[in-house]
């Protein structure tokens, strides 16, 4: 399924820029930051990069309602349209394209499990022919999640042949960092992720740093600045 009229949008893909390519099926990436920096908006932006290219995406969220998830997309699209000086009508067009290619799955914290999500995505595949290439998972509580759950999540990604990005929250008061420079809460789980990116607030934007890129930790020159409204690359 592809968008009939490709959107006149250049998202200056931050993932593309940082990684050099997208995550492939079965691969798992994580966005780390403290509360309020913009993990969810950044994750939504990653989803939009796929959606605007006509690929199908599952946005899974723990604790948020579908209404809230929809608002994240609406706001981000509105900001991107404004930043790109596109005509107002583009907003409605892009929203409808996003709605066509996105499915939202939400769970109460206790109701989430990788296998439950797998069943949901299989139902979408089998019953409505929805074949996502990406899953974004927001709100998983890393304070409670076990290694076994994440391993199961990775196995699910492989079985479903999808890539996934997720978010994890760091805490100012927990300063634990492993010998590879990966902070809490991923310090003892970093082998499970192919990519680990950290978001830090700047006075006039957000800094995105690669902490792990496949087999490299802290690769040099992989720090970029993002606009806080659009999560697009800052031109300067």
């Amino acid at each position: 399924m592809s968008i009939e009229q490709p959107a006149k949008l250049d998202l200056s893909g931050m993932i593309q820029h940082t990684l050099g390519r997208r995550l492939e099926a079965g691969e798992l990436g994580v966005l780390l930051s403290r509360a309020g920096v913009g993990k969810t908006a950044c994750l939504t932006h990653v989803a939009l990069e796929h959606l605007f290219q006509g690929q199908e995406v599952v946005h899974a969220s723990i604790r948020e309602t579908p209404e809230t998830v929809k608002i994240w997309y609406q706001e981000l699209i509105k900001n991107i349209v404004a930043a790109q000086s596109l005509a107002e009508e583009e907003t409605a067009y892009l929203q409808s394209q996003v709605e066509t290619h996105r499915s939202i799955l939400t769970y109460h914290q206790d109701a989430f499990s990788p296998t439950r999500m797998e069943q949901g995505i299989r139902n979408l595949k089998e019953q409505i022919g929805f074949h996502p290439s990406l899953v974004v998972l927001d709100g998983l509580d890393f304070g409670r999640v076990t290694r076994a759950t994440l391993e199961e999540f990775q196995a699910v990604l492989k079985r479903l042949e999808v890539a996934a990005w997720m978010t994890a929250r760091t805490h100012r008061h927990i300063t634990t960092v492993n010998e590879r420079g990966i902070p809490y809460p991923c310090h003892d789980l970093d082998d499970l992720f192919q990519v680990i990116l950290a978001l830090d607030p700047l006075p006039d934007g957000i800094r995105l740093m690669a902490l792990k890129l496949y087999d490299r930790n802290h690769p040099e020159h992989l720090t970029i600045s993002l606009n806080t409204q659009t999560f697009m690359l800052k031109k300067d």
Binding site: S103, L105, T106, H108
Partner: protein, 695 residues
């Protein structure tokens, strides 16, 4: 008659169907001594609950029309509007909410916050109605008031605060632990009339202490006095009541109570909460529009000494005659007063004035600001505003959604024909979402409404209440036509075949109009069309909107601009320019890429998760677009958008696919273009029926 308005509460009881709100109302009436025996909703005892006064409601076990009733509790007067829970009747809910000051949101202890609760809650927020939550059916297997409270927070975004915890759930449900007084409350006697307060049993004590702390944390935000008292360990129930009241009135806190109406548990405490936490009429600000000041908003004062302003919110033909329910916002009325309908300007004399107790009544001489009463013999429509004639205020109009479905009716005999006409006249007055008209071409009577069940109920009521047997056609979707691009027209209407001639030329363009249904723009300069014929052009265009030439459906969203034309000194006339405009419209319409639009419904299916795949399949087969799937516990809620045309008979399909365990609600989401292949079929059908009518 109550003089002290601070002791009056106008409340609604709103919730998802089958949450037990009619049973709850019945118990309230029992404890407030309005009735002296308890009956069950589904009429097992052949009597039926008091609030379901219509026979049909008793049979189906659902509440269709909201009945207003009056009762008193510990010196407080309470007007209760029982509201329907099915989404097809939401206009009833909306109307009720419009005149209420507060509400009880009833939630099923097992089902929790279901899709209909979300719809009703959204409506309550729109009308700024402070509410209490009552978690009912705590005695049922699977009941979990904590889960329901969490859903109130997460799904409805309420700052839900438990004022009680259950004293046992499911079969072990005995009563509640009151976290304010820290006592265990049980309800004894045959109908739970005897309230017994005792020490909290040891096994509940830790939980109660913990929940009380949480409650105090939440409610102290609304009272500095309470915060101080907590620090000084001098907390009294009165301080807590006052803080909860403030939080509730500001709609920043939702007190949560619980029990089981069916098992007579928790109702009296709920009544206490209604009087303690919900607002009196003085505490609610209502605005009217001043017709003499360009509809500028004016705040009404809930005082009997000011000019009368009252709103009719429900018409009902009872066995005593036509009843008009009104809410008085300002001023007072008494028998013999003359009041003026602001819509028609007609004066009416107030005859009988009554308080309703479901379908029984009590005569009163006088009613004042804040009251809900019913009048006899007033000719008006639902939503009309009345004043004493000294001021010209109107209450802001209530939002009325456009009908999405229609059905052809054919009376079976002459007698039925008369009765159908009587019934339709009454139903359309009572319910603004129910409309009727005569199809000029087929001669059939068409009724339109908000869904299959909505129309079914009215057809059934015709049979039962008016003895009018009717045959019904297949339900039809209210399609629309619109255009997708701009097209020019330049049309000359010329007729000179005997008699007076006709001449008019109209030129301009038609284009899509997103902001409304129709816009006419005159850009004629230099008198190419004389000024007196400009309205004729407008009229001609408007005449074309009723029936599009694509498939005969009404046209929406077009803008017509005229910029040139010609006239004849003798042969031009109003009619000639109307005909020219009609010709011009037809010329341009087909060039402007007309397209059929269909109503698309937001359909939410609640189902056990094991049926998620099945439900997705049923929606997909109906051209449904899946928006989201939410999972909580063992339940899934699937949100989708489905064309209405595909939803006929869906309830049967859903029931059989899920062993009756799933249910759905739907409401109009938007109008979308009909896919090409389906549109072609509809156009073909239209042409065929057009042809057969012409024969």
């Amino acid at each position: 008659m109550l003089k002290d308005m601070s002791k009056l509460r106008n409340i609604g009881i709103s919730a998802h169907i089958d949450s037990g709100k009619t049973t709850l109302t019945e118990r309230i009436l029992y404890y407030t001594q309005r009735i002296h025996a308890i009956h069950e909703v589904k009429g097992k005892d052949g009597v039926g609950a008091k609030m379901d006064s219509m026979e049909l409601e008793k049979e189906r076990g659902i509440t269709i029309q909201s009945a207003a009733t009056y009762c008193s509790w510990k010196g407080y007067a309470i007007n209760i509007i029982d509201t329907p829970g099915h989404v097809d009747f939401t206009i009833e809910v909306e109307r009720a909410l419009c005149v209420l000051d507060g509400a009880i949101l009833v939630l099923c202890g097992v089902g929790g916050v279901q899709s209909q609760s979300v719809t009703v809650d959204r409506q309550m927020t729109r009308y700024q109605v402070p509410r209490l939550a009552f978690i009912n059916k705590c005695d049922r297997s699977g009941a979990d008031p904590y889960r329901v409270t969490r859903q109130l927070r997460e799904k409805l975004n309420h700052n839900a605060v438990l004022l009680q915890i259950p004293l046992g759930v499911e079969a072990n449900h005995q009563g509640v632990v009151d976290l304010i007084t820290m006592t265990a409350v049980t309800f004894e006697g045959e109908h739970g009339d005897k309230i017994v307060e005792s020490d909290i049993p040891a096994e509940y004590l830790d939980e109660a202490k913990l929940r009380r702390e949480e409650m105090l944390d939440a409610v102290s935000l609304f009272s500095d006095e309470l915060t101080e008292a907590i620090l000084e360990e001098q907390v009294t129930p009165e301080l807590i009541y006052e803080a909860i009241r403030r939080g509730t009135l500001s709609m920043r806190l939702t007190p949560v109570l619980m029990g089981s109406a069916y098992k007579n548990k928790g109702i009296q405490i709920l009544l206490d909460a209604v009087t303690r936490y919900l607002p009196n009429p003085h505490e609610v600000t209502t605005q009217a529009l001043d017709l003499d000041q360009d509809e500028e908003g004016v705040d009404l004062q809930s005082s009997p000494d000011l000019h009368l302003v009252m709103l009719t919110f429900k018409l009902e033909v009872s066995r005593y005659g036509q009843l008009t329910y009104v809410r008085i916002y300002q001023g007072k009325i008494q028998k013999g007063d003359t009041i003026v309908n602001m819509r028609t300007g007609k004066k009416v004399k107030v005859g009988r004035l009554v308080r309703m107790h479901s379908d029984e009544m009590e005569d009163v001489d006088y009613a004042a600001a804040g009251d809900i009463v019913a009048l006899f013999g007033i000719d008006c429509e639902s939503g009309d505003t009345f004043t004493d004639g000294q001021i010209r205020y109107t209450m802001s109009s209530m939002y009325v959604p456009a009908p999405v479905i229609s059905l052809a009716l054919k009376p079976k005999d002459k007698n039925a024909e008369m009765n159908v006409s009587k019934a339709l006249s009454r139903f359309t007055k009572e319910d603004p979402t129910f409309k009727t008209y005569l199809d000029d071409e087929t001669g059939e009577t068409i009724v339109c409404g908000m869904g299959e069940l909505h129309l079914d109920v009215y057809v059934e009521r015709m049979r039962r209440e008016y003895n009018a047997e009717v045959e019904t056609g297949m339900p039809k979707v209210a399609y629309r036509e619109t255009i997708q691009r701009r097209a020019e027209f330049n049309y000359t209407h010329k007729k000179q075949t005997g008699g007076a001639g006709q001449y008019g030329r109209v030129a301009g363009f038609i284009e899509p109009y997103a902001e409304g249904d129709y816009l006419f723009i005159n850009k004629i300069t230099g008198g190419a069309i004389p000024t007196e014929y400009i309205p004729s052009c407008d009229k001609g265009f408007k005449a074309c909107l009723k029936k599009g030439s694509m498939a005969g459906f009404p046209i929406h969203g077009v803008q017509l601009t005229i910029n040139d034309g010609a006239s004849h000194a003798v042969d031009s006339s109003d009619n000639a320019f109307q005909q020219a405009a009609i010709g011009a419209f037809r010329e341009a319409y087909l060039k402007a890429s007309p397209v059929l639009l269909e109503p698309v419904m937001r359909v939410v299916v609640e189902s056990p998760s094991e049926y998620q795949g099945t439900v997705l399949g049923t929606l997909n087969q109906r051209r449904g677009k899946i928006i989201s799937i939410s999972e909580d516990g063992a339940f899934s809620s699937i949100e989708s958008e489905v064309p209405l045309a595909e939803m006929f008979g869906y309830s049967t399909i859903l029931r059989s696919g899920t062993q009756g365990k799933a249910e759905f609600t739907m409401e109009l989401a938007r109008y979308n273009p009909v896919p090409k292949n389906i549109a072609e079929e509809i156009v073909k059908e239209h042409k065929a029926s057009d042809k057969s009518q012409k024969k």
